[in-house]
């Protein structure tokens, strides 16, 4: 399923408003590197199941895609909106697969207390991706 990660990365990188807001392609899969500057976007696979309802292979995946900002709730929310405009009910191009549905399924919203009184705000969504064999 690396293809989905690549597709998400490509789709997010193609969002010029998002890249401008982040000040570059600060988009990471699974974990940001240590010392990465804020804000950034992080995505990871949260769940994946096989449909097994027909001979054609269908996978139902859930990806978490979120903004992480330091001491700036407003900024995290604005980035979340930009992510949403790129992923909700949009077509992903996934190598070797036909994507036939992708949509936001729920929100991610929490604050993480850091050292020295810093607060990291996580804002984003759980995105459902249905893949069918090409």
């Amino acid at each position: 399923m690396n293809a989905v990660g690549s597709a998400l990365f490509s789709t997010l990188c193609a969002g010029t408003a998002l890249i401008a807001k982040l000040g570059g392609t600060a988009i990471y899969n699974t974990v940001a590197y240590q010392g990465a500057a804020f804000p950034y976007v992080l995505f990871f696979k949260a769940a994946g199941v096989e449909a097994n309802t027909s001979p054609r292979r269908v996978r139902k995946l859930v990806y978490a895609v979120k903004a992480v900002a330091q001491d700036d709730l407003q900024e995290a929310g604005e980035i979340d909106d930009l992510i949403d405009s790129l992923l909700h009910e949009q077509t992903l191009t996934v190598a070797s697969w036909g994507t036939y549905w992708s949509a936001r399924d729920g929100d991610i919203s929490y604050a993480e207390p850091g050292e020295g009184g810093v607060t990291y705000f996580h804002r984003g969504g759980m995105y459902r991706v249905w893949l069918a064999g090409a």
């Binding site: 699974t30 974990v31 940001a32 992080l42 990871f44 949260a46 769940a47 994946g48 199941v49 449909a51 139902k60 859930v62 978490a64 979120k66 992480v68 991610i108 929490y110 993480e112 850091g114 990291y120 996580h122 759980m126």
Partner: protein
């Protein structure tokens, strides 16, 4: 011309309706303050989802089960069973260090959580 005669047994109907719960809701949750960090990650740590995989694993069986549920008064029992199936999956998926998070995963009715 044909006629059909229908007799409604109101006493029986009311008896049945009393057995149907207003709503059948169960909430799968953990009882720690750090469960969300395991589920969704932090700036220092990758996420290790355990609730989302559990919910996704029971989603289709739940929908399939609803289609074959014969007695509507059994809906509460059915929802309870699915929630406990999800609980078992979450407990088998969650990362274990001290076991506190795993042991805190449980199913509750909304009223038990003050909801």
């Amino acid at each position: 011309m044909s006629e059909v005669s229908v007799t409604i047994n109101m006493a029986r109907l009311e008896q049945l309706m009393r057995k149907i719960p207003d709503k059948a809701v169960r909430i799968l949750h953990d009882g720690t303050d750090y469960g969300k960090y395991q589920e969704l990650g932090t700036t220092k740590m990758a996420a290790h989802p355990f609730m989302t995989p559990a919910a996704e694993a029971v989603r289709q069986p739940f929908l399939d089960g609803l289609k074959v549920l014969h007695n509507i008064e059994d809906i509460d029992t059915f929802v309870d069973k699915v929630a406990h199936d999800a609980e078992a999956i979450a407990k088998s998926t969650v990362r274990v260090d001290t076991g506190r998070l795993k042991n805190s995963i449980t199913v509750s009715k909304p009223e038990a959580l003050g909801l």
